[in-house]
Amino acid sequence: MRGARAEPFEALPSALTAPGVTPQATADGVPTAWVPAGRIHDTLAQLKRDGYRFLYDLTAIDERMRTHREHPMGDFTVVYHLFDYDRNADVRLKVALCGDRPSLPTLTDVWPMANWYEREVWDMFGVSFEGHPNLYRILMPRGWQGHPLRKDHPARATEMEPFRLPDERQAELQEALRFRPEEWGLQRREDELLFLNVGPHHPGTHGVLRIVLALDGEVIVEAVPEIGFHHRAAEKMGERQTWHTYIPYTDRVDYLGGVMNNLPYCLAVEKLAGIEVPERALVIRVMLCELFRIASHLVWYGTFAQDVGALSPVFYMFTDRERILEIIEAVCGGRLHPSWFRIGGVAADLPEGWDGLVRDFLDYMPKRLRDYDQMVMRNRIFQGRTRGIGQYTLDEAIEWGVTGPGLRACGLEWDWRRRRPYAGYDRFEFDVPTATAGDAYARAEVRVEEIRQSLRIVRQCLEHMPAGEYKSSHPLTTPPRKERTMQDIETLIHHFLTVSWGPVVPAGEALQMVEGTKGNNGYYLVSDGGTHAYRTRIRSMTFPHMQMLPQMARGLMVPDLLAILGSIDFVLADVDR
């Protein structure tokens, strides 16, 4: 959906009217401007004071292979994306950098949450940030050679030496992983702290996450999360897969969200290509997305209960999730990673009898949810374990870039489906649940209510499923329509090229943010007018949440850490990409 929003040039905030600032038009309508490197820090600080309090994203682009270079482009571009909740306005700033070892002043003094983002840019692009307190690699192992998202870094195993891991190398890597308290401002001898590695092989971390705890008894003095164990170069792969063949990779980012990951990607490509999606496809997409939201929340519900020691709920909730996956399987053929959305629609029409399956589920689920309220949410031990744990205020949430249920649990009624309607969400009726306490229990309350709201949306889809096409007739739709290929040669050639090479998407850039299962999920795509993306940036939902972990855990006890981890609801594939 292309938003009918103000022209980018007019929408630029006053802080950006100074000379030297060059505006840029983008396909997504986000006001975008190039700012000289020397002024970027002050400009960003000023914008923050002006109300852009949310640093939505901070990433970079290697521009050295670019053919479309209309803008004041250097070798590297660092992209800052700010957001203002009060005005529902955002702005994208770009800085052109030259040379092989570019550098910028750090933004961590303005936004503490810039810490991990800058580490990621350093890790991936080799752009250094002066004044950054701990500019170490974050996604790649410490001993890695090169910066993977640079265009000259190999993307395929065939471009590299065969992989070998001799014992000495393994010992070296293992040693590089050893926690060094000094790096994090902790003294071992004087403080008499116990340093405990939690994860990556730990049942409570929900995957390969490592948190190093500095403990005084069982009280957490400091927590240092370490991510990257689940990094699979999802963004790098976007640069070598065609627009179409990248879709299955998105499923694997938030692997509990299934097609919910396809959505922002497909929407962003559709923006770039100017594709309008037919009604029926829109509603099918919404229905599948909301089913996956319920499935994801159910996994969270069960595992969260298990994190605080309740054994049984997870079995009930996985049983329910299984019912959703049965519907998904009936519609898509796949279960966890259906890769069902296509550029311009969905892969196929709904099968016969889908409505019966969905209706059965909608009738079945509410009673189960009432049972769970009794079993989990009203359980006094559960409440004792989660109330007042991992608490943060609304200001802190915005400051640290929290989105999704974690933000709504602080009292801000902000749902991107409602505030920035996409994919036809504006025609559905649903409430945006909120809570006020901002603790683990409040986050749970919000998610539980969201399951009910998603059920409402699915019911509306069921009752008002429009007739019509499930895929657009736009020429860039993938896979292209085949009906007329046997009648005229142009269609045949077009079909052949689009299937074998992939569609050629016009040069430009577009961001699509969606209300994902765990927060705001954004796909920022840059096209250089080719058959694949020049840069695919996945603004993941839980990366900033994970960064906030120390903030939430300090002063609490080891069991609380697990309750907090459960309440964040993260997927490490999404954190690490």
Binding site: R178, F179, L194, F195, N197, G199, V212, E218, M557
Partner: protein
């Protein structure tokens, strides 16, 4: 020697023997293939930083002190409890009751003191 204690000794001997046999059986039946990672400490897949045997938080020590205080006082209640009925029968019930009420009262004051001092709070 009381005969019941012989039975106890027999039980102890059999239980100990059983434990030893099971452990030795495990040693006989099980393989022995030490590898580098098997010989490592379990710390969820990391090289540990710092030793596991180091000075530890005072809070646990506090619990031990509380235990010693209260458990010893509770031990004083045991003989009193078992003989209380006999005292009641002998007409000394009221005296013994008041006696113990004073003792438990002191115990309760001790608990209240510890409570107020915050020794029962973990952090």
């Amino acid at each position: 020697m009381n005969e019941s204690y012989v039975s106890l000794l027999v039980l102890a001997a059999v239980a100990l023997g059983l434990g030893t046999v099971i452990l030795m059986l495990n040693g006989l039946l099980g393989p022995s293939k030490p590898t580098a990672s098997k010989l490592d400490t379990f710390e969820t897949g990391n090289e540990p930083e710092g030793d596991a045997r180091q000075r530890f938080s005072i809070r646990f020590y506090l619990v031990a002190i509380l235990f010693i205080l209260f458990d010893i006082e509770v031990v004083f209640l045991f003989p009193w409890a078992v003989l209380f009925k006999d005292y009641v029968a002998a007409g000394l019930g009221t005296f013994m009751f008041v006696e113990m009420a004073v003792f438990v009262g002191i115990l309760a004051i001790g608990l209240a003191y510890v409570w107020r001092k915050g020794a029962l709070e973990w952090d």
